[in-house]
Symmetry: C2
Subunit: 209 residues, 2 copies
């Protein structure tokens, strides 16, 4: 694992590892102790060669005839993905998407805890959302520090996203998940992932054409 | 374009094409007439070699010194992605995520129109959502046919997703975008994309570790 942590694993590989990690969890829950690269490939949609290549990145070679040890591989991928710790998350933009994210049980299960919600609308500030008080955007910098927030999720409209990202960065957030359309620029020490839901529909429309 | 339509373009390539398509739209809006593979690479996060390889898939080779014609390339990628037509979309599960998707302006701009929302909760059925009446899940099969719905989006909970997918498929939907956790099985003639929001956070936690 030490050697693997020094590797730069590409984003598509990280996504495939996330997929294997879920499959391994299901296999373990179903009582399976080993899994072949063929089975992991079939379940994940990758090729067996791709699975073997991905897992060899951190020194894993399935044994002929027995395959990979499910629980061990799951534990190692969890560590690689940084899921064996707790992440504190703040959401900026108290709209429907924020509501949906707060209700999304997968986040909590993987160690991502939403600890604060912010908005600039005075009508929303002070509302109680399942025990979270919606805070003013003006409280953001202080709250990120007090609540030790690692990751900010931007669900604000596109026109506010740049300002929100700057506040998050100033406050010391290290990672940003951005749902707002348009490009954000962040300094090198901050990690940014953009989620564009239209791209998901476009990959469907390509297939349907 | 005819030759390209016969190619099977991989899903990661389709996603990069979606990215180039957005960048080309911004460049055109900014009055740019040409773009180099270096510039497209810089803006999209791909390498120049990757950009050239992706675009060569459909016979495009940027000219030395001038690059690619922005408007032409945008038009061709729009056609490749199936965005030069209108897609009728139905959302199953009238919760916060559905609300957020209906409000998501990018969808309409790219030709995806949400024409129906369904739920199995009698308290929600009949509600008016921005002019859309929430329909009972029991109306789904008839409504998909009457409304000529091409794509179904599943925002229902995991335990309902399999049943919802079966109803959508029975009704004749050709594409499904699934937000519910867990694996769905669909017949070959139906295209499925799974969106797992936890995977986005996992790729951030990998980077932050």
């Amino acid at each position: 694992v030490n050697a693997a942590e020094e590797l730069r694993i590409s984003d598509p590989t990280v996504r495939r590892l996330s997929g294997y990690y879920r499959i391994l969890g299901e296999l373990r829950a179903g009582g399976e102790e080993t899994v072949s690269s063929y089975d992991l490939a079939h379940r994940s949609g990758a090729t067996p060669a791709q699975v073997r290549k991905d897992l060899s990145l951190f020194g894993h070679f399935g044994k002929r005839g027995t395959g990979y040890a499910v629980a061990q591989l799951e534990t190692e991928i969890r560590a690689i993905l940084g899921l064996n710790r707790h992440w504190r998350v703040g959401v900026v933009g108290a709209g429907n998407l924020a509501h949906a994210l707060i209700a999304y049980r997968e986040f909590a299960r993987e160690g991502f805890e939403i600890v604060a919600v912010f908005d600039n609308d005075p009508a929303k500030v002070g509302q109680d959302w399942n025990g979270l008080r919606v805070r003013s955007i003006d409280e953001l910098v202080d709250a990120v520090r007090e609540e030790r927030i690692d990751i900010g999720i931007i669900t604000a409209p596109a026109e506010a996203a740049t300002d929100v990202a700057q506040r998050l960065i100033r406050a010391g957030v290290r990672g940003i998940l951005n749902f707002a359309p348009g490009k954000l620029f962040v300094p090198k020490h901050v990690s940014l992932r953009n989620v564009n839901l239209a791209i998901e529909l476009e990959s469907l429309s390509y297939a349907l054409k």
